[in-house]
Symmetry: C2
Subunit: 188 residues, 2 copies
Amino acid sequence: MIAQVIAYFNSICSMPAELVADLERLVEIKELKKDDFLLKAGKISNHASWILKGLVRSFYLKDTEEITTKFLWEGATVTSVYSFYSRKPGNENIVALEDTTLAMLRFDDLQYLYKNHPVFNYIGRVITEQYLYMLEIEVYNLRKQKAEDRYQFIVKHLPDLLQRVPLKYLATYLGMNLETLSRIRAKR
Amino acid sequence: MIAQVIAYFNSICSMPAELVADLERLVEIKELKKDDFLLKAGKISNHASWILKGLVRSFYLKDTEEITTKFLWEGATVTSVYSFYSRKPGNENIVALEDTTLAMLRFDDLQYLYKNHPVFNYIGRVITEQYLYMLEIEVYNLRKQKAEDRYQFIVKHLPDLLQRVPLKYLATYLGMNLETLSRIRAKR
DNA sequence: GCCTTTTTTTGATAAAAGTCAAATTCCTTT
DNA sequence: AAAGGAATTTGACTTTTATCAAAAAAAGGC
């Protein structure tokens, strides 16, 4: 299980044996059942996780409505960027939409790795860049004013998401309400 | 001038003398006049820059309309994330809104620094994380459905921007049109 | 399979934001 | 200070999306 994460990190930059040994010692595998929470609003996020299998959703509460901010699946890294880096409680919830397997690293352990294995900063930076890149695409889509354009972007670029995610979550993720999404879909 | 950048990097992680010497050799100071371009769509972004003074705007063209995607000023790092990291031409333009002074690093030189000075990976990672953190806040604001809420976020958290940026650019940045922004402002 | 609950769709109406045109204000430059 | 141009505001109208209510469809538990 851990081998999968090691292989991924190695594909970014080849790691020395001591680093691999430290990772094998520090990485924790966790299984989440559908609807289990990885993080609750008001708590400090203490882990960054790599998704081995499954799909998670992050959201925050606006009045009583859940606003979905992200869907992440196999191969993606998940954490609450705000809470994890600021070390403060945030408003973000992360919950499994499917049974999910994670490889997790604690904040403190990650700092230890960054301090003691300079190469690991290279890997951390590349992963952060990938996340950044993904987020930029998301912003690009969000800035489109037409609800239909935002939906068509998903149809074109992330069609799998439509199979795996209930529409009620997709709607707030795309900044529209459920009825609007339903009407857009009814058009064809 | 370069001392300012060195001091900033040192504040993230103390750098050995050889790294400082390499930086002094490789960092290039550039002065942009208002309306000068730092990057044009269709070109590969070859530099990452640190803004010493001034303000830049990035935008892309949607049909004939300029959609502003970012404002960056003193202390911020600027590059086209997509083009710089993918080494491909993108659709992003970056232009100075004020006379601007930059400390620039070429892509190749940055890779050289990462390879030869492991500590610099630590600094690069932290800067990338800061950029990510900022982008997340931006996305959070964009996902608000009401145009007025998005504008009020700027009033509250980035009031200086209102003094430094023409409203026509702020409008597309906030995902609304100029007339809507003008009407929101007229309310008070 | 049947019942309950959740999710999605549909309808009627209201609110928000966009579009186009024109007027006004603000800046620059001479 | 005046002229020209750019930026912003205002008005009339249209389109898009939200809201509220209810019906229909789908999914899960027993």
